[in-house]
Symmetry: C2
Subunit: 223 residues, 2 copies
């Protein structure tokens, strides 16, 4: 299929030729991970989808796992932007839950969480993958943590638990719900749960916030 040699050589203009291969491999890897899971996303399978020779995986990414991680990074970058955009308009607990539900549904529908969860599961299988995946999970925990802190951090019942711990729980729940949903092909159950959470969140939003007046005495604390 691929014409041999770079498409157009003129100075490195017109897409560096190799980069095109890299891109198609990354895209194919995402799809393979989503459709066939970690074990099914072999160099052969990915190359087949990308329409190129399996060995190119090793030339461009060193190892199959290297490509897997590149695929994970690719979806992470894409989703992070979307998450941030959705979260930007949120100001209360109910809004936070609704926003979460929205991105969750998107991720489920497009199989993005599937890519993440299969990689997390794979880390459990392949020890040296552990740190790599852990490092790629951390930003999501931070995202969740910041979202919690910024939007519901001052609500009494929430305030008693560090936002970072809530963020961790949220990521864990995401992962678990997706795994179970993809297991019995029932996405609705998870979405129903988000609905319940929204109701509870609306109760939280009605709690009176602690007064800030007294804090001025001890100002200058937040560096």
């Amino acid at each position: 299929m691929a014409t041999s040699g770079p498409e157009r050589v003129l100075d490195g203009q017109r897409e560096p030729a190799a980069q095109k291969t890299r891109r198609s491999l990354v895209m194919a890897a995402v799809e393979a991970l989503r459709d066939k899971g970690f074990a099914g996303a072999s160099a052969r399978e990915i190359a087949r989808r990308a329409g190129c020779n399996p060995a190119l995986v090793f030339y461009h990414f060193g190892t199959v796992t290297g490509l897997h991680l590149a695929a994970l990074d690719h979806v992470a970058a894409e989703r992070k932007e979307r998450y941030q955009a959705v979260l930007d308009g949120v100001t209360n607990a109910q809004g936070l839950v609704r926003a979460s539900q929205e991105v969750f549904a998107e991720d489920m529908g497009r199989g993005y969480v599937a890519v993440l969860s299969t990689m997390v599961a794979a880390a459990h299988t392949t020890p040296e993958l552990g740190p790599e995946i852990a490092a790629r999970i951390a930003p999501w925990r931070e995202l969740a943590t910041n979202a919690v802190r910024d939007t519901v951090g001052r609500i009494p019942l929430v305030r008693s638990t560090p936002a970072e711990e809530i963020g961790h729980a949220v990521v864990a729940l995401y992962l678990g719900l997706e795994m179970l949903a993809s297991l019995d092909g029932d996405q609705a159950r998870a979405l129903r749960l988000f609905g319940r959470a929204a109701t509870l969140a609306s109760l939280l939003d009605r709690l009176p916030l602690p007064s800030r007046r007294r804090r001025d005495r001890t100002a200058k604390r937040r560096g």
Copy 2:
């Protein structure tokens, strides 16, 4: 290692000889799944641990997956009993959380949840495994559902959400927390979360229960 022929033939007394092989294979499979994950728990690896020929896996269990499922059933049976025992003494929300924390810590320490989670993840990889795993998850959801209903079902805030949905969320959270914990080798983070939940649960326990007096009018409903 294994002496050829049955240990003692007398009438089928003294362990049926083949059953010994089956047992050792199941145990080895549990350990392999726990230590090496689904992909690492190959027929070769399991047989090596069991000290027997890889082909015995296929003779006794038909397929590697068959043995994996047998291993899953084995730990499930063992854990179910323990769970039930721990839950028996529970009468309120805080107790329920504490009991959950206890069995969670046990499962983590012995790697039992790891076996479950790697199989759930594998189901995502191997489509025909899906229904089998789903069927084996269902009892846990029921266990959680019943525990919720029996111990905290009448508490106002809880009552507004069907116990079955809460049970599902609990199972999902279990799974997610374990995956993340085994990912960055930090079990403490999950346990800290249980501590927070216990505090919140104690608040739930202080809510006044709805009066039951009026229900007598419409009795005869529960068949």
